[in-house]
């Protein structure tokens, strides 16, 4: 019974959301609007549950001896400071909340993300080795794209950016389309299985 009720709810919601796409009428639109509101309400509840989970997990780390204590304390302090600043002084232009976001969070995140350039360069040096015919093609494609996606390519020859265009529009696009079509078919099949009650892993079972 505990499993049958959520499966039935899921089936009814799934069929309704699919059917409402084709039905234009007042009651159906109203119900559809209510479903959209509920989606946001559920998401916010999930967000609160997530915050609670993060706080609990950090508190557990603090209670445990070890170097993780320091990091968990910083994480909790960060959460607390932003909550206090947001609720205390608002989130408008010039507020301490926005200042913290602009001057602390954004630079930290961009710094971490920027490190990628260094690791990509190191990985490219080590990884792009022309050991056999296939890897020669890979190395050549990488070099052409590296140079063709910046003004240097145009300066070397107009053929370089043109070749980049061909690589991206033909072989890369073919692979991308195949992946997209595969994802689309997979999503459709999974949705049908969920609505039909054949796919139940989301309930935590097998």
């Amino acid at each position: 019974m505990l499993r049958k009720i959520p499966i039935a709810v899921c089936a009814v919601c799934g069929v309704f959301m699919a059917a409402q796409y084709f039905i234009i009428s007042g009651p159906v639109s109203d119900l559809y609007g209510a479903v959209l509101d509920w989606m946001q309400i559920i998401f916010v509840c999930a967000l609160l549950a997530g915050i609670l989970q993060v706080v609990m997990s950090q508190l557990k780390n603090i209670a445990r001896p070890g170097s993780g204590r320091v990091y968990s304390s910083i994480a909790l302090a960060g959460i607390a400071v932003m909550v206090v600043l947001g609720f205390g002084w608002g989130i408008s232009r010039g507020s301490p909340f926005l200042w913290m976001f602009d001057q602390v969070q954004a630079p930290m995140q961009t710094t971490v993300f920027s490190l990628l350039a260094f690791f990509v360069a190191s990985a490219a040096y080590r990884g792009f080795r022309a050991r056999h015919a296939e890897s020669v093609v890979l190395v050549l494609a990488a070099l052409i794209i590296l140079l063709g996606r910046v003004p240097l390519g145009e300066m070397i020859s107009p053929l370089v950016p043109q070749t980049v265009g061909w690589i991206l529009d033909v072989p890369a696009m073919a692979a991308k389309r195949a992946i997209l079509i595969g994802i689309g078919l997979g999503m459709t099949a999974t949705a049908i299985k969920v609505i039909a009650g054949m796919e139940r892993t989301y309930l935590g079972g097998r």
Binding site: F113, A121, F128, L147
Partner: protein
Amino acid sequence: MNIDRRIIFVIVALAVAIPLVVPLDLPVAVTDETRAVYDRLEMLDSGSVVLVSFDHEASSLPEVRPLAEAIVNHCFMRKARVIGLALFAEGTAVGYDILNDIAAQQGKVYGHDYVYLGYRPQYTAAILGMGESIREVFPTDYDETPWEEIPLLQGVHNYDDIDLVISVADGSLPTYWVEYAQARYGQEVIAVLTAVMVTAYTPYVDAGQISGILGGLKGAAEYEKLIDRPAAGKRGMDAQALTHLAIAVMIVVGNVIAFGARRKKKTAVAGEHAV
């Protein structure tokens, strides 16, 4: 031969830093892709309503900000009215800053020429909900001003009143704009993306589901050239060009060294067999 990775890091750091200190002023050629987006925005009439959604995280700011600034600049230059919002929490503050900064530069008035609605969680529900009523999804703006007190928003009900949606993204959000706003409500969508995402969205352009793509620092530099406002995109492009060149040279050098080593090994093995 394995070079110490710290040497590679120093080379990359120099390749990034030098052009930022001493601009190379490399020529930027405008691609058809970027020109298509520019031409579409040129078609906007005065008073058109453009919805700019900041669907990205703070981590991609160095790439996304020049793109967003260029596109918002052009919207204001066309005298379009801009409605900003965010479907990623981190994009909220970024979008708010960008809109206010560019509006201040162009002398635009909040509430009349532009408005910022802020963030709504659960992007699927938010995008679908705006198709029914934008006011239901955003009853107030970011500063909690009620909908009915904002002149720009009067007469704006749903996607029927929006001329163009521009999703500034570093992830999969444009897919949701296509699946829910374009496919269901026929809303025209333009995607402004980080360079790595461009290939993923080109099939949507070919299918007519996205009207145009503006991608990466290259796209930003090209767009800045088109609107004649060189800024961070142009400066960043020099750094990116030199870094790409450095990586390309390292790949070539690495292969030459590896080829030489393999050849030497082969010769040595052949010599051993001969003996």
